[in-house]
Amino acid sequence: MLLERGPRGETGPVLGDGTPVADLIDFENYEVSMRVLNDPEIHRLELKYLFGRTWNLLGHESEIPEPSDYVMRYIGEDPVIVTRDREGEIHVLLNVCAHRGMMICRSEGGKGTQFRCPYHGWTFSNTGKFLGAPIAAQQMHGSIRSKDQLGLVKARVDTFLGMIFATWDPEAPSLGDFLGDIKWYLKLMFGRTEDGIEVLGPPQRFMIKANWKCAGEQHAGDGYHNLTLHQSLQELNAMSGSEESPVAMAGLNISANGHGLRCIDTREPFINALKGQGIDHDMPPLEKLKLSPPPGMTPDQVPALTTRFNADELRVLADFAPQVGGLFPNVGTFAVPFPMPDGMSALLSLHTFIPRGPEHFEFFNWFLVEKSAPPEMRRRMSRTSNLSFGISGFVESDDADTWPQMTQAAGGYLGSQQKLRYQALLGERKPDDWPGGGHVYDGFGKDDNQWNWWLRYADFMTGRPW
């Protein structure tokens, strides 16, 4: 991944006014031109250079558990059908008829082994194969293209911990390489049990009048905004801290291939998650975890963690659990312990930010639970999740009112020339005994993660993502 290399030399595509895309990012001064947040030309280039090449998160395997299940999703602005075939294999098909371009699937989900275009009736299998067109004797697909050439366009598909990803780029590295060192941390968030996690249902979908990158870069590691934008968390005692040591800032930022997340230092005495749990910090990790299980797990599930994690991993899970983050370019990841008036609860969530033109994006929000979670825990986590995150959650409803105004500001003549600044850099600080990979920034969360996100963006937009 190019992120690891030094200064960039490629200019990439050139915008209509003569500005090379590479010039939008000032590598010496750690600044990004605000023009990127509101420009139709850049938006079109992103569809090709970024969404057309990266691995895109489309959903979770538990949404299509049975053969012939499908859901409709988006890669950039392209609608795709995510199907599961008779053998259980997942396919991602461009939802555009090979005949005249009609969308062949108009439902967001359901069951079906075939998709029949409503326009002229061309029919495709759920693996994308062209099966036939009405009035076979007339051979309405002609004789120039063979039936094999008339299948639906297919993406490469792979999964990680049940998350379904797809890419259009035949040159893209494997999903495993694309995720890189962040995989180790994601497993601590979403891969803690043998059965794994599942969605509570189809995702929330809502439209935000903002450029998708406002949300994309924030999720790479912006812990700083918690202190002001989410100040009500502290006012409501959902997140406690002090001026010198605000809770969201105690821990380590991790960055790998543009993906990022924050490991919160749960040893801090003011951390809500551990308050009143009777935890002594000299206890072995497993004992701590029995008293304060990872978010969304029950105490009786804790002993089996040793079958999936080694001593180093258990220590990180107990003392520095990764809680909030994002995957490059447009994914949010959450495994968060959350205090409720009747005791600790938790939420697990995935977000995607799907571009809808330069000034809008669609927010997809999944809430998840352990498959093995008892019914009462599911109910509680649903309540906790809806209280705090997603469209009505009191945390994210504030974010949703911020991004539109950044986007609007970027539409002005002078606004478009202003800079997004990432000059508060902590620099790499990896504790000697830190067992995880990636770039590690131990301390007050600064701009390092998000700057790395923009470097990764630059790799894609200058045509050198791999």
Binding site: F206, D342, I391, S392
Partner: protein, 185 residues
Amino acid sequence: MTTMEQPGMAEQLERVHVGQPVHFELVEFLEDEAHALDENDLFGWLALMAPDVQYQMPVRTTRDRIDGSEFSGGMYLFDEDITTLGIKVTRLAATQSAWAEKPPSRTRRFVTNIRVFRRPGEMEEYRVTSSLLLTRNRYQESLLEFLSATRDDMIRRTEEGFRIAARTIYADQATIGTQNLAIFL
């Protein structure tokens, strides 16, 4: 997935017709409730909820009829009880940093098509369905945002007056067109 139960079909309920005194009382109650929200009297609105209230808005997805209900039985846009409603209201009305509604939206609720059914049982409870059209406006935007929905309520008569014991909101949009639901329906 659960199907949306139709009053009088899923339960054997007795219709309370337009013109009956209770129907008028419930119309007045729903209008007063809408007024409290339109006027941003959030604590006044919260006081209209029963302590055991269940306030839910299921996620809707576009589906073929053959694939069953469009409404999810497990995933919600609101999934609240009196505690979480209380936290949300307290944040919006009593903290200094609920930016989502600071400054507040201008909202207006049009409540129509009110149908009332008497529930059997010891408590005096009514199943009330209504149509809601909610307009929302923020900042200097010239256009209104719209949300339209069917509401399916359980309304209980108590010594203090009517209280909402359950509300399920069935939105018309599968993709909600407003950036957050820091408002109530």
